[in-house]
């Protein structure tokens, strides 16, 4: 059973939940209030929604051997645009559509640099990571813009039994799962990520696929940015979505999707995002300074990477030839 790729992440999640329940016995309680659910677990879901959403977009990007560092900055831009529009007297739906349209453009930009110009993904998205926050501050003119719009408040803080934010994130996750696994998109993404050369020779439109995943990642970041700013009724260009790209990458990696591209697991990403959010909550509840959460994250990153590293398995595996016997026979017959 330990062979299952999600064994360790799920074990970690369960362990963290048990730890929380021990430290804080009311952790697992769920109250019903005004037709909505409240409680420790619900809080984890609500606070983890933006990270999960961005991680879903990041999963597809990483599956194509890429990475998108700009998602945090894009999230900040989305919040800034929406709040500025509302603060200037605009209505919330238009504000959100406007923000998301800009995020799609930013995604197009990233995708263009990666798939057409051919710049390494880390570097291509670093440009927007750096300039993007400046752009967000340009929109907010360096102020923290507070808004009070009942409609806008819903996306981050609203409830329909469960927090709306987590419903959106889970909805997107399911939609992506349905779209990529129901059509051939998932297979083509994995094919491009595993072996770009062979995919090109098989006639796969790699450029278009790579471009699309960056646009999707930008869109996810935009929605996440709306959630973050809606949750606090404000757009903070400096701090909204700060380091969320790192959390998202971490969630994807914990979920078993390799940074080298290829096979991806959306379920794994879900588990990974929950592990990270639960870890954060746990650190709060056991009384460690909240900022020191980073130490725990570092330990998790290193542990996951070392567990995934082929070198580690070489070290711990008993030395024997891995080839099945019939392969060997056939290879020998080869001239």
């Amino acid at each position: 059973m330990t062979r299952h790729p999600l064994f360790w992440p799920v074990a970690a999640l369960v362990g963290l939940i048990v730890l929380n329940a021990v430290v804080n016995p009311s952790f697992l309680e769920v109250r019903i209030q005004n037709g909505a659910l409240y409680g420790g677990v619900v809080d984890i879901l609500r606070n983890g929604a933006p990270t999960l959403l961005i991680a879903v977009g990041m999963t597809l990007v990483i599956a194509t051997r890429g990475i998108d560092l700009s998602v945090g900055a894009v999230a900040a831009i989305a919040g800034a645009i929406a709040c500025s529009w509302i603060a200037a007297g605009g209505d919330a739906p238009t504000a959100m559509l406007l923000a998301l349209a800009v995020c799609v453009l930013l995604g197009l930009w990233n995708g263009f640099l990666v798939s057409v110009v051919g710049i390494q993904p880390i570097i291509a998205t670093l440009v927007l990571m750096t300039a993007g926050r400046g752009g967000a501050m340009l929109v907010t003119e360096g102020q923290i813009i507070t808004v009070d719009d009942p409609v806008y408040r819903q996306i981050g803080a609203g409830f329909v039994v469960l927090p709306i934010a987590i419903l959106i994130s889970l909805g997107v996750l399911l939609a992506v799962a349905a779209l990529t696994r129901g059509t051939a998109l998932g297979m083509l993404v994995e094919s491009v990520g595993t072996n770009p050369r062979a995919s090109r020779l098989a006639g796969v439109r790699s450029r278009r696929i790579v471009w699309t995943v960056y646009v999707f990642a930008g869109l996810c970041a935009g929605v996440a940015g709306l959630m973050i700013s809606s949750n606090v009724n404000a757009a903070d260009a400096n701090n909204a979505g700060l380091w969320i790209e790192m959390d998202a990458i971490l969630a994807v990696v914990i979920g078993g999707t390799s940074l080298a591209g290829g096979r991806y697991s959306l379920t794994g990403t879900l588990v990974g995002a929950l592990v990270i959010q639960t870890l954060t909550t746990t650190v709060y509840s056991i009384g460690v300074p909240p900022d020191a959460i980073l130490v725990f994250k570092a330990v998790v990153v290193i542990a996951v990477c070392l567990l995934q590293s082929p070198r580690t398995s070489e070290l711990f595996r008993p030395r024997r030839r891995a080839e099945p016997a019939d392969t060997r026979a056939q290879e020998v017959a080869a001239p």
């Binding site: 750096t130 300039a131 993007g132 752009g135 300074p289 900022d291 980073l294 130490v295 994250k297």
Partner: protein
């Protein structure tokens, strides 16, 4: 200028090796931005503004030197800002605990180097991407800051204060700080190591073609680990200079500094794919960033976020410039 002269100039330009072009471009950009500032603002082209570029960015120069080593091998170090912050924290905390200043400084340098070495070992022996390992290093260093103290810790040690506020007069009222001297010394040592030692040559060789370097019998593993130790040391030293600059240790010092450092190195003409670049270029890159910042503060009406946008745009221009250079090999 007649046709012959033009041709002669063109000949001369053609004779400049292509690997110097990005660095030359950076110096041109520096001269252009500084020139723009001088023309637009009164008092901009003063020696003190010039020296202040070094005074205000001494720590950034040191960090950029370390990053140059890493990027030259084709790697990346995301942890530099966090390690610098951790250094300010260790310095402040040890001084508060009554350590002598020298011991505090040594503790900072030793811990930064050790952290860098550790990351290098993981990258090399477990074959994990530098991006992820140094990201973990960044988390670890920031987290450790807050384990030491969540609040900002101010530095009251007289020696540190003396070093921080002490100035060296260059005459005509122009002054430098000790930090600038340290930064320049680091630059000189780095130039020596990169160009006049076998370690430095191997750094370039690994970045140019690691498999070739290995077939040539060079100690590639040692170098791959070594550059992260160098970067860790530089981050720690840069952090020390930053603690002199701020006279405090704080876990939120230098947030996003790694981006500035990477931007400075790239703008300085170092190829992110490794193998091409100069420390002098990185210094020029830092000066370009500093000049942009100075112009924005001189402008007064422009807000600080324009700095980030301009850095982003410069970064983009230089990346595309590099990309074009790589597309037409000689």
């Amino acid at each position: 200028m007649n046709v012959l002269d033009v041709r002669r100039v063109k000949d001369r330009v053609d004779r400049i090796p292509r690997r110097f072009l990005p660095v030359i471009a950076t110096f041109l950009v520096f001269v252009l931005t500084f020139g723009t500032g001088s023309v637009r603002y009164e008092g901009f082209a003063s020696p003190q503004v010039m020296t202040n570029l070094f005074v205000d960015n001494a720590f950034l120069i040191v960090l950029a030197v370390g990053m140059t080593f890493v990027i030259l091998t084709g790697g990346i170090d995301l942890s530099v800002g966090a390690v610098a912050a951790l250094s300010t924290m260790i310095a402040a905390a040890t001084l508060e605990a009554g350590w002598p200043p020298l011991a505090a400084a040594l503790a900072v340098l030793a811990s930064g180097t050790a952290l860098g070495l550790l990351m290098g070992l993981v990258i090399h022996f477990f074959d994990v991407q530098p991006f992820i390992v140094t990201l973990a290093g960044m988390f670890l260093a920031r987290g450790l800051c807050f384990l030491i103290s969540v609040e900002s810790v101010s530095i009251t040690d007289p020696v540190f204060r003396e070093l921080a506020t002490g100035t060296i007069s260059l005459g005509e009222g122009v002054t430098l700080t000790y930090s600038v001297l340290i930064a320049l010394a680091v630059v000189l040592v780095a130039v020596y190591v990169l160009h006049l030692t076998r370690f430095g040559r191997t750094v370039y060789a690994v970045g140019g073609s690691e498999s070739s370097a290995r077939l040539m019998g060079l100690p590639t593993g040692r170098v791959r680990v070594g550059v992260y130790a160098v970067s860790g040391f530089c981050s720690a030293l840069g952090g020390l200079l930053f603690s002199l600059y701020m006279l405090s240790g704080y876990g939120l010092h230098g947030v996003g500094m790694e981006l500035d450092v990477i931007a400075a190195v790239v703008i300085g003409g170092t190829l992110l794919s490794g193998g091409v670049g100069y420390v002098a270029g990185s210094v020029a890159g830092v000066l370009v960033l500093g000049t942009v910042q100075t112009i924005i503060s001189f402008e007064g009406t422009l807000s600080s976020w324009w700095t980030k946008i301009v850095i982003g745009v410069l970064l983009l221009v230089f990346i595309i410039f590099q990309r074009m250079m790589m597309r037409r090999p000689g």
